[in-house]
């Protein structure tokens, strides 16, 4: 008796993972054909390098004689001022609230709509052209419409962000549903699962990776729309402050807001990435 046929024995627990047996471990090698792997620099170090690289490019641009372009120092000084008088955090709070609300609503709607589009071809063919159509329409063009229908409070601002998040994540969601392996659906059906159970038990978990990619795309779209949204009678917010700084051609302030938006967005993106890793750990990866 070989122990292989009795994998229940102690010590045989984890190693039986070779899914692609003809090339196990090749992924450990860089595809460049290098045979001795370089010592892998730590991820923190690389992040620092990346940040330093960006800073260097910036300083380079400043020095290269582009007039008016504020350097890191000027921007940091202005940033400190804005932190001191509290506006920066107020603005962050205001924008974050809007973006989160719009984004979460957008994703919350995108998921059922994406599922419906993926599940019922008729729905897909009726709605898809409109989704693609509105994906092309600039958020700036939506503003008059949003004011007409929703006034000038938080609603239209959140709506503009919501729309951006919705449009960009719905596509990914329905592509996820369309690409669910039909064998899995069949496997559930032969076990007696009805439509609803197939949907909840198979389609939803199987499309989670796509939904999460869609959520990341939607996040970018939401933040990229915040300036447009805050054109509508905003009292505070990073986008509003940026607009105001443009009135006075105050480039350091613009840079502070720009960096704040990028940084918050980046942090949120990394959080989503973490969630993705966690929720889709069951996937086989390269």
């Amino acid at each position: 008796m070989s122990e292989d046929t009795k994998p229940a024995r102690p010590g045989g627990a984890s190693p039986d993972t070779a899914e692609a047996p003809s090339a196990p471990g090749t992924t450990a090698k860089a595809p460049t054909g290098r045979r001795i792997p370089l010592p892998k620099p730590s991820s923190v170090l690389l992040s620092l390098c990346s940040a330093a690289l960006g800073l260097l490019v910036w300083i380079g641009l400043t020095k290269s004689g582009i007039e008016d372009l504020p350097g890191p120092w000027a921007v940091a000084k202005r940033g400190a001022e804005l932190v001191e008088d509290g506006t920066l955090f107020d603005d962050m709070g205001a924008s974050l609230r809007r973006v989160l609300t719009g984004y979460l609503l957008g994703v919350a709607l995108a998921i059922p709509v994406g599922f419906a589009m993926g599940w019922y071809p008729i729905v897909r063919r009726l709605i898809d052209p409109w989704i693609q159509f509105f994906r092309m329409v600039p958020p700036l063009a939506i503003i008059p419409l949003a004011i007409l229908t929703m006034g000038i409070d938080e609603k239209p601002k959140v709506f503009v962000i919501f729309l951006a998040a919705f449009l960009s994540s719905v596509v990914s969601t329905y592509q996820g549903v369309v690409s669910v392996d039909s064998t899995l659906v069949n496997a559930a059906r032969v076990l007696g699962a009805k439509d609803r159970q197939v949907f909840i038990g198979v389609v939803v978990p199987a499309s989670t990776p796509f939904i999460l990619v869609g959520m990341r795309i939607g996040l970018g779209a939401s933040w990229a729309t915040v300036v447009a949204a805050e054109l509508i009678a905003a009292q505070s917010g990073l986008g509003f402050r940026m607009q105001q700084a443009q009135l006075y051609y105050d480039l350091p302030t613009i840079f502070v807001q720009l960096i704040a938006i990028g940084a918050i967005g980046l942090v949120m993106d990394r959080l989503l990435l973490l969630a993705e890793r966690r929720l889709t750990g069951w996937q086989e990866r390269r």
Partner: protein
């Protein structure tokens, strides 16, 4: 300072623009607590331009708003009513780069001129051209965003620009010896660029008492500013959360008129004349097909009447 006023106060939504002339009256009114004296509670909304406010007036999301001179065609086409004149803008200039050979408006012929479309800058350029008998087609007009004008002019992408202070201060940092070809004052008093407060077209008829009260607040604020111009710059900067330096000197570029004088000018028809003159320019600029008469959209009587209300 409206938060501590009694809960029975009438709520008024008021739009404004975050620059000195667009905010000063409201900043002072808030600081001096002028609203509660009229039993009003303001809800202030900041906008980046006039047309958006007029749109919000149309959807009843705003009761009052602020328009610069470039947006005065909106009331002139019946989309809003003017409740009061705020200040007379004198910040607009046609400027030219040194060495462009432009010293007077006539030299603009054939030159490349940066203009923020639909603003007072657009208008002063039109006036300057008309004065010298040039047609818009005789120059090469490049429409662009106000802050774009700064860069475009600074980098020499254009020969001239029609733009205003304080943006010109920014330009001066890079082009200290720029030439001011025309200034707003050149046209005063024949023509001036008033910025105004407006309201929904129906509100004046439906609730004249409210309009009168608001006008009273604005008058009081205006008179305070006339008395304390430098102080008002500081109050406005604080109100807008801007560095005080950014607004220092703003009053240099506006003409402040005491409300008594404005009342007089309203009653003798001068103010209506300003509006009609501007409206004619808009028609000539093809901004609108035809104009209403100023008396139909400037609530001069209400303005004059608001002065008679005793302060409480």
């Amino acid at each position: 300072g409206d938060d501590d006023s009694s809960s029975g106060d009438r709520k008024v939504t008021f739009g404004y623009i975050g620059d000195y002339s667009g905010s000063a009256a409201l900043a002072v009114a808030a600081k001096q607590d002028l609203w509660s004296k009229q039993g009003l509670k303001p809800d202030l909304k900041v906008f980046t331009n006039g047309p958006l406010q007029v749109q919000a007036l149309g959807t009843k999301n705003l009761d009052f708003g602020y328009l610069g001179p470039g947006a005065l065609w909106l009331p002139a086409t019946g989309k809003a009513k003017i409740v009061s004149v705020n200040m007379l803008g004198q910040a607009d200039r046609v400027i030219a780069r040194p060495g462009s050979g432009i010293a007077k408006p006539a030299d603009l012929k054939g030159k490349k001129i940066a203009v923020p479309a639909g603003t007072s800058g657009d208008m002063i350029l039109n006036l300057a051209l008309r004065e010298t008998g040039l047609k818009p087609s005789d120059v090469s007009v490049v429409p662009m965003d106000p802050s774009t004008v700064v860069t475009a002019f600074g980098s020499g992408s254009v020969d001239a620009a029609a733009i205003w202070y304080p943006l010109i201060d920014n330009i001066k940092k890079r082009v200290p010896d720029l030439v001011e070809v025309t200034r707003t004052e050149d046209f005063y008093p024949r023509l001036t660029f008033p910025n105004v407060f407006v309201t929904q077209p129906e509100l004046a008829a439906k609730d004249p008492e409210l309009v009168r009260k608001v006008t009273a607040v604005l008058r009081a604020a205006n008179d305070w500013i006339v008395a304390n111009p430098t102080e008002s710059e500081k109050i406005t900067a604080a109100f807008l959360k801007l560095p005080a330096a950014q607004l220092a000197g703003s009053t240099k570029y506006v003409k402040l008129l005491p409300s008594a004088e404005l009342t007089k000018l309203t009653q003798d028809g001068t103010v209506n004349g300003w509006f009609d003159n501007l409206a004619d320019i808009f028609v000539q600029m093809d901004k609108m097909p035809k104009r209403d008469a100023a008396k139909d959209y400037y609530l001069g009587d209400l303005y004059a009447g608001a002065g008679g209300v005793p302060k409480q």
